[in-house]
Symmetry: C2
Subunit: 194 residues, 2 copies
Amino acid sequence: MSALPQVHVALLHHPILNRVGEIVTTGVTNLDIHDLARSSRTYGCAGYWIVTPIAEQRAMVSRITAHWRDGDGPGLHPQRAEALSLARVAATLDDVVTAVTDEAGARPRLVGTTARLERATVGYDDLAAELATPGAAPALLLFGTGWGMTAATLAACDMILPPIAASAGRTGYNHLSVRAAAAIVLDRLLGQRR
Amino acid sequence: MSALPQVHVALLHHPILNRVGEIVTTGVTNLDIHDLARSSRTYGCAGYWIVTPIAEQRAMVSRITAHWRDGDGPGLHPQRAEALSLARVAATLDDVVTAVTDEAGARPRLVGTTARLERATVGYDDLAAELATPGAAPALLLFGTGWGMTAATLAACDMILPPIAASAGRTGYNHLSVRAAAAIVLDRLLGQRR
């Protein structure tokens, strides 16, 4: 086992809340594939999972990552290809947990993110310190698309981080893109500011 | 004058380096308009400037922001409308500096961002402390698209932040999206982690 824990990122497209609180499946976007792969690669994550029950969308993601692995991508944009090599697809969160458990040799702790302060159970600094501890268990960071993860998904998490907006400034505005939110969470947990 | 300095964000589309070091004009993308507006709003920035010499692209940005201000946008997505209200266009960086100077009552300090460590002149924590000082001058944070700002633009900056990758982890990978990089820089400078 390596000194530092494996950290995986998962972007969930189902079950997801929509604007009025209904449970929906959101569409996979090309930009989310690229942006979160690049952020995950920058912070040394072991894997980036795009989770959708829609088989056609998983096939689309696989075609895109194959282009960057085998097509013209690597020659023109080697750094892009390197990031995309982290991207993998799964039909459900359970499938991701199973795959990461197989790969890491231990069940990952599920770390949820939410825009609701009252659900938070762990602070950024505390989790960052834990992730920097040799021998710590692997972690799987969950990000929701749309209007966020369901209460049931959050209830299945081992810990939940506070919303970024609660510590973002003095604005009370709480509507970051998932691309921005994931980058900030990775920097707070895995960045080395000094 | 308010207790805290006005912080503005500018996304530059010219002059910009391309993959082989030539000076080009990059295209404005809809997603950059939205994502950086939402991040700027979250961190309490006073303005978000989209800078391009191409008049048609400035007109496109103005149409998009007008939709969110006056069209169907505000009713369906009030938070999106609120963020987009920060977005403004300018033909050149000089025009932004002039406008911010007029608005803030003092010339903003130009804060550059770069992927090259050797150019850095100020650390995140030092600048964050300065921005938190009552009576500090306004600041204009510059982000490049494409392969980044030119040496001449960086030379005109009052200070330059280190690349995020230098403190991102243990990876040496240095190819974040500008959407992710801007979010992380805002969080490091204006976020309140504790």
